[in-house]
């Protein structure tokens, strides 16, 4: 019977030297593959980033609510950005 790949929490430092930030989670069989998956899923292989992966079950959380982390802008291929497509003004906001 199959057992599920463990869950990892992903932290990424962008190119501007800010602290690592929590960007989300994913599944991977071990830490090394979690880093690779994080690169594919959360950075779309944007150069110059640093990735930390932590097993989700190794995180100890405080109980009261804390404000959630914001998300990194996804810096990907140009066509991922809405401005790649020219939508005429007459059509309105999209």
């Amino acid at each position: 019977m199959s057992s599920e790949w463990p869950l990892w929490e992903i932290f990424i430092r962008g190119q501007h030297g800010l602290n690592h930030r929590h960007v989300g989670s994913l599944h991977a069989p071990d830490a090394e593959m979690a880093v690779k998956h994080a690169r594919d899923v959360y950075t779309r292989r944007n150069e110059g980033v640093s990735i930390w992966v932590v097993p989700s079950n190794a995180i100890t959380a405080s109980s009261p609510s804390e404000k959630g982390p914001l998300f990194e802008p996804s810096n990907a291929k140009v066509y991922r950005h809405p401005t790649f497509f020219d939508i005429p003004d007459e059509v309105g906001k999209m």
Binding site: P29, E32, K36, R44, K77
Partner: protein
């Protein structure tokens, strides 16, 4: 006939060999989209396919420029028939199971990476520039595919068997990457592209190391298929092109 080939003709051929191989492999990899064994892998594979399609645009774009007949990358990709395709036979092999897909990727990446490295030193600056950009992408493809081959080769009994069988099936298609013909020799002499044979030591070293770590046995058979680079393909390519080119062929007057 040993008349020196017209260098531009050879260059066009050489660029089609690179661009058609990335096109055909990119297409094959994209066939997995939505069907991969796990979401993370689905996303990773799409990245590989996207890189390969992007490289195709660069290689075939330059090929069209060199040819000078007004054909762009799309015209070359979508309006040539099988005999004009110059991709390696390896990349047109059907996906098979996921193990065959990964093994095909690894055997190709292990050639592609040193090939691009050598092309960075091309006497043609346009080629050097494309190779530099593609090289960064392919270094990651190789890291990924080599890692997965090792893990699956040395995983469960089933994953080992599947990877060994994938290797045995694909092995006879690897020799073509390192076989030279007149086109290759002309380009190598002109300092535009490396001699195919010069890639062999790096390819062999890498493949031997990874297969051994993967506990896989290198097939000892020496027979190698050839012909893709000259336009003699397997039956599979025609079916792929029938799918890929269908819209362009069915509606030749349309722009998309």
């Amino acid at each position: 006939m040993s008349v020196a080939l017209d260098l531009d003709v050879a260059l066009f051929e050489g660029l089609c060999r690179l661009g058609d191989s990335t096109l055909v492999l990119g297409h094959r990899v994209s066939e997995w989209c939505g069907h991969a064994p796990v979401l993370e892998e689905d996303i990773a594979l799409a990245n590989v396919a996207l890189d390969l399609i992007g490289q195709t645009q660069m290689w075939l774009g330059l090929a069209g420029e060199v040819e000078g007949k007004g054909r762009d990358a799309d015209a070359l990709a979508f309006r040539r028939d099988v005999w004009d395709f110059r991709n390696l036979l390896l990349v047109e092999r059907p996906n098979g199971d996921f193990g065959q897909t990964l093994m095909r990727q690894f055997l190709f990446d292990a050639w592609h990476q040193p090939m691009l490295k050598a092309l960075e030193g091309s006497g043609d600056p346009r080629i050097a520039a494309i190779a530099a950009k593609a090289g960064r992408e392919v270094a990651y493809h190789l890291e990924r595919s080599a890692d997965l081959v090792i893990r699956l080769g040395d995983g469960t009994a089933e994953s080992h068997t599947r990877m060994q069988s994938a290797l045995d099936r694909l092995w006879p298609y690897t020799g073509e990457m390192m076989m030279a013909d007149d086109t290759d020799r002309a380009l190598a002499e002109a300092g535009i592209m490396p001699a195919p044979d010069s890639i062999r030591p790096q390819w062999e070293a890498l493949v031997t190391e990874v297969l051994s770590e993967a506990t896989l046995k290198t097939p000892d058979q020496g027979f190698m298929h050839k012909g893709g680079k000259q336009g003699t393909h397997s039956e599979h390519l025609g079916h792929m092109l029938a799918t890929m080119q269908w819209l362009q062929r069915a509606y030749p007057d349309a722009t998309w």
